[in-house]
Symmetry: C2
Subunit: 216 residues, 2 copies
């Protein structure tokens, strides 16, 4: 394979800076120590037919290494995790649990996190959003209560070892910054902080933010 290339946005509004999904791929590369390049694209290009050939929904990131060419941040993280040690345990059972937590982040948590962003940001001006918000919060808190119970007093979701599942879960939960929702979940807040304290995360976010600084 050649050096992997991912796509990232040249600029996004401040509320989204630090959260766009190329951060997940960048973090995974840093955790496993694989060098990568970034193809910076703008939003109109992301929506073009040319980009949609690689990402049907007109989004980022995409991943290409000359052999493997994929989209979906979850799939990209799992693929990067398969290339070198650091994000997936060696034993099949631990590996399956890491994939389980990555998919739990994407399918059992993120859709609820996303609805809060819909209400507070994307559809904040719609008549129904204010009325709907308490139910969105209630559903989200239900999921976070279950997740916090599963985490318990553990450092990471699966015992002591950080995996691709934690990378994805922390990435999803970070979107709740500034919402106040995490105030009621001190163990999850500490879990996110542990993720954000990892050198690989710090490097990934610095590189992600540098793109916006360069565009400004």
């Amino acid at each position: 394979m050649t050096k992997p290339v991912i796509t990232a946005y040249k600029w996004v509004p401040p509320f989204a800076q630090g959260l766009v999904r190329d951060t997940r791929a960048r973090w995974a590369f840093e955790e496993v120590g694989i060098d990568y390049e970034v193809d910076v694209i703008d939003l109109p290009y992301a929506k073009s037919e040319a980009h949609r050939r690689f990402q049907p929904f007109g989004q980022i990131p995409t991943y290409s290494d000359g052999k493997v060419e994929i989209f979906e941040s979850g799939a990209i993280v799992l693929h990067i995790a398969s290339l070198a040690p650091g994000l997936l345990p060696d034993d099949p059972a631990g590996r399956a649990r890491a994939v389980q937590w990555a998919i739990a982040a994407l399918n059992s948590i993120e859709p609820f996190v996303q609805q809060l962003a819909v209400v507070d940001v994307f559809e904040a001006d719609r008549d129904w959003s204010k009325a709907r918000r308490p139910k969105v919060i209630e559903d989200l808190k239900g999921r976070l209560t279950d997740l916090e119970a599963a985490l318990g007093d553990g450092e990471w979701l699966d015992g002591d070892g950080f995996t691709a599942g934690d990378l994805m879960m922390v990435s999803v939960l970070r979107a709740l910054r500034n919402t106040g929702v995490l105030d009621g979940f001190p163990k999850l807040a500490a879990y996110i902080a542990r993720g954000e304290a990892r050198p690989a995360f710090k490097k990934a976010i610095a590189d992600h933010m540098a793109v916006f600084a360069a565009a400004a």
Copy 2:
């Protein structure tokens, strides 16, 4: 490993029969030809602490084979797919694309499908649902338009071969039955019908429905 056991619900309301997520695991087992058992549980037990030790969100399916013990239908399908040929291509690039489509189903399509169920079923009695519905439909149709373009005239999402990605995508799209939304997407409707015509799917659904018949 011992014979795998999954959990399934003893009974669900008619609108959900045929769609509960144990269908995804059952279909995967049938595609790869692995025998399995079903531990039928009721909803109160699913919400119990005893079950939440295996499924933190109090849902089904869970999977256990004496070695691997996981939840999340997506992770279970990918795990079953890893046990025997039939759902994941041999080559790493094709394998990564199959995972990509499975995750696209779970993260880029299902959250939009789910919001229609929220509006039409789970929150149908809420004041905001009627006002919100056109936007939910618009967002969902946007995703389906992109997905139909990606499918093109192909039989399956990745060329000719049916993969775990198709299994998951067809499973997610089937929840749109009876909504009328698929009327505008003839290629997706035909794609779902191709999935439902597979002998493995038919066997899985028959076994799934038999549980409700036995409980009735």
